[in-house]
């Protein structure tokens, strides 16, 4: 079970003055249950790439396999693909349209042909997951604040119970707290349900914290496709591609240059703290272990689900 791209090319407005070769010979595989980060500067082709995953745009050239089936074969069931690969667009709040939040979240499940009760039930769980307060369920989506709209819109996709969740810069324009809330929620869902998550972002810090693997896009090509440590080791090249490694990477490199024997490949702040303590001959703070434990058992502030509900989603 996976998404696999073979020599995928995409050209916008071919044969006109606006021609743009947005994706160049992309070969990728995203196995089930992975948390993948896609990163790249503006215009590097991230959004174009992810719209291929659920067949919204058709590659100019190349193949895309979902669960080993080529989705460009005639007669392929696109509807089913869209049920399984949920895509949250950038600024998803712009697609809200119903009279109240609840009905809007039900739109996806309703299109899947579910009964009204089932739609409602899924919507309730999804809304709880994104941490939107109950008093908003019956307000007009247009009355909510930006962050609340964003949550409602993400719930609209979660309610469809996708097997693969693709998020295009879900935190763009949010304050730090809103950003952490949403990403924690997604990480929680990933851990609890084993859902594949593909997170597009241009914050290295965010991606470093959550992703098992990072795909770096540069001018329509895959530049790196590797574990975070391995990718951040190329921090000089990343800078040339208009990106930056997490600040921790820079600190560790500087320390090493000045003679402190630290492991330069750590990617998060707590790992770095442990490393520095070790290098200074102090005792292991156990930060990393503690953080890993916390992440695993994390029950996000808002929208932690009861075991019974979790049972249902799985």
């Amino acid at each position: 079970m996976s998404i696999r791209l073979e020599h995928l090319n995409y050209i916008y407005s071919p044969k006109t003055a606006y021609e743009k070769h947005a994706l160049k010979d992309i070969c990728l595989e995203i196995p089930d249950g992975e948390f993948v980060g896609i990163i790249g500067h503006t215009g590097s082709g991230k959004s174009t790439l992810i719209q291929h995953f659920n067949g919204l745009i058709k590659a100019t050239d190349g193949k895309l396999f979902y669960n080993e089936e080529n989705i460009y074969e005639p007669g392929y069931n696109m509807k089913n693909l869209r049920n399984e690969v949920g895509l949250v667009f950038q600024y998803p709040e712009h697609q809200l349209f119903e009279i109240d939040v609840m009905t809007d979240v039900c739109f996806g499940p309703k299109n899947q042909g579910l009964s009204t009760e089932e739609c409602k039930e899924r919507a309730l769980i999804a809304l709880e997951l994104v941490g939107l307060k109950e008093k908003y369920y019956h307000s007009s989506p247009f009355e909510l604040s930006g962050g609340q709209k964003r949550r409602a819109a993400i719930a609209g996709v979660l309610a469809m119970r996708p097997k693969v969740l693709v998020l295009d810069e879900p935190t763009a324009g949010l304050d730090p707290k809103g950003r952490d809330d949403i990403l924690d929620q997604v990480a929680y869902l990933h851990k609890q349900t084993g859902m594949t998550v593909i997170l597009v972002s241009h914050s290295m810090e965010d991606i470093a914290r959550y992703a098992d693997r990072i795909i770096v896009m540069n001018h329509g090509e895959v530049m790196y496709n590797d574990a975070p440590r391995a990718v951040f080791a190329h921090y000089r090249e990343l800078e040339q591609a208009g990106l930056a490694a997490p600040q921790v990477t820079y600190i560790m490199h500087d320390l090493k240059e000045r003679g402190l024997p630290v492991d330069i490949s750590v990617t998060t702040v707590s790992e770095a703290a442990d490393e520095i303590m070790k290098a200074l001959g102090g005792k292991d703070l156990g930060n990393t272990a503690a953080e890993n434990r916390a992440l695993r058992n994390r029950t996000p502030e808002a929208g932690a689900l009861s075991n019974k509900t979790l049972e249902k989603i799985r």
Partner: protein, 274 residues
């Protein structure tokens, strides 16, 4: 896709047509459109066709791009043709199916009407393909400026037109995004009967209107913040001035109009019923 709509859009290229003064292009387009109705003979149509082909070549806009722009009006074209084809009763009957008959006059009218409509659309798209919205506004404003005397707010009208033109691609892009987002949530715009399809438009139209109003509001704010206060006393960074090539263009255009009318009316070319 919805983005293929190219009516009213600018197509960047380096051609003489692109460099011409917008007033020349506006007047010439108007002349060309009027000229299409001043004759009804095959010789005239041939002349108009040759001229149009020449202009397209000069404009350096790809033919495929122009043809794509015709797609949205195919429906309108079909209706016109069908009405003309079956509703004319004069002339010899060519084909008779039940109570519908196609006569020579009907066929001729249908073909002429279709050709005229297509040329009308291509002619006016060529103007917008080769003229930026800003130039177009300046041109319209300059041409209509005599109306200022009778208190028509010419600058405001021109500004509104250019904003409307500028918003077409933005709204199309927005529509495209919203459609994709709703499709990702399982919306289906292609199947079902007319009622179902109309209902399927709601998830597109509501967000589209919301966004159009938001954009309009933002634009108004931005203009206000830069102290925009209409046309009175406003000077231009690039005032319009006629150059040699503009006068040549006027000359060519007048020659064409005279030629097409003369040929269309007095050259007795006849092919079958046309």
């Amino acid at each position: 896709m919805i983005r293929d709509i190219t009516i009213g859009q600018y197509y960047p290229a380096k051609s003489v047509l692109h460099r011409l003064d917008p007033r020349v292009k506006l007047v010439s387009t108007l002349l060309y459109l009027v000229s299409l109705f001043l004759f009804r003979s095959i010789a005239g149509y041939l002349t108009a066709t040759l001229f149009l082909i020449g202009i397209i070549r000069v404009s350096k806009v790809p033919v495929g791009y122009i043809v794509k722009g015709l797609k949205p009006v195919v429906m309108l074209l079909m209706i016109t043709v069908v009405f003309n084809l079956f509703l004319k009763k004069e002339g010899e009957v060519l084909v008779q199916v039940w109570r519908l008959s196609v006569t020579t006059v009907g066929l001729r009218n249908a073909v002429y009407m279709a050709v005229r409509l297509i040329y009308l659309i291509i002619g006016s798209s060529l103007m917008t393909f080769t003229t930026t919205p800003n130039e177009l506004t300046d041109g319209i404003e300059a041409l209509l400026s005599p109306l200022n005397k009778i208190r028509v707010p010419v600058h405001e009208v021109a500004m509104m037109m250019s904003i409307a033109l500028r918003f077409i691609p933005i709204l199309l892009e927005e529509t495209d995004k919203i459609m994709k987002a709703q499709q990702a949530r399982g919306a289906d715009f292609e199947s079902g009967n007319i009622m179902q399809r109309a209902k399927a438009m709601i998830p597109i139209l509501v967000p589209l209107f919301v966004s159009a109003f938001r954009r309009a509001n933002d634009l108004a704010m931005a203009m206000e913040a830069r102290c925009y206060r209409g046309g009175e006393g406003r000077t231009k960074m690039k005032p319009l001035r006629y150059k040699g090539r503009d006068l040549t263009a006027y000359g060519i255009m007048s020659a064409y109009v005279i030629a097409v009318v003369a040929i269309g009316r007095y050259v007795p070319l006849k092919v079958w019923i046309f």
